[in-house]
Symmetry: C2
Subunit: 119 residues, 2 copies
C-alpha cells in the first residue's frame, strides 16, 4: 500500500458516523470518520477502541464520567465499557480497533455499518 | 487510563530513537518517539508497523524505494520488509505495533530498547 495523507482521505468522506478504512495491520483496522451530533450508547465486548481527534472536540460520555478530547488527544476505550460519542460541532476522528469491530458495538440500528468501505 | 495529549507526552521525551509507550490496546502498543539522523537497517519478521508523523519529515528507505512522510501522513511497513528510517531534522513520530516489537527488529545494537518506558 501507499502512504496515507489523513487530510486527503478525510476530503473523500461526506457522511457522518460512517467510518472509512484507511489501513490494516496485525489484525487491526485504522479508520477515519467525520461525526456530528450524538451517536448511540453501546459497548464492544471484545475490542478496545482508540479515538484520536484530528479536528474539533469529541465528548466520550461514559456512565460515570465524560472524557473530552481536543485535536492531538486520544483515549482508549476499554472493551466492555458503555460509551456515547458526542460531537456538538463536526469532529474528525481516527480510530484503531480490531478488524470486524462494529461501529455500534452491541447495538444494531440505522447507523450500523457492517462493511466499512475504504476511503 | 486517562486521555493522552500527544504534545504533552512528547515534551517528556528528551532522547532520540527511544520510543516511549503511551497506550496499549488489543495486544498492540502505541508509542511516541523523537528521532534525528539515520537509524539502522532492520525488519520485523512478525509485525507490521505503522509510522504516523506528527512533526518534521521522515524518510522510510526500503531496498527498492523511499516513502517520504510529512505531518499528518502515515505508512504501514509490512512485516519482513527491510527499512531504514531517516530524519534529516528532528521528527516526532507515533508508532503502532504489536506488544513486544523491538525497535531494531532483527538487529541488536546500542540503539536497541528492550523495555520501552511509559512517557
Amino acid at each position: 500500500m501507499d502512504k496515507v495523507n489523513i487530510s486527503d482521505k478525510l476530503d473523500h468522506i461526506d457522511t457522518y458516523w460512517n467510518p472509512h478504512l484507511v489501513g490494516e495491520l496485525n489484525g487491526q483496522h485504522v479508520k477515519l470518520s467525520k461525526v456530528k451530533g450524538d451517536f448511540v450508547w453501546h459497548h464492544h465486548a471484545d475490542a478496545d477502541e482508540m479515538f484520536l481527534v484530528i479536528k474539533g472536540r469529541l465528548v466520550l460520555r461514559m456512565r460515570d464520567r465524560d472524557v473530552i478530547l481536543d485535536p492531538g488527544e486520544f483515549y482508549i476505550m476499554p472493551r466492555g465499557v458503555e460509551h456515547l460519542p458526542i460531537a456538538e460541532e463536526e469532529v474528525h476522528l481516527m480510530l484503531f480497533e480490531p478488524e470486524g469491530t462494529l461501529n455500534t458495538g452491541n447495538v444494531r440500528n440505522e447507523r450500523t455499518v457492517d462493511n466499512p468501505e475504504w476511503a
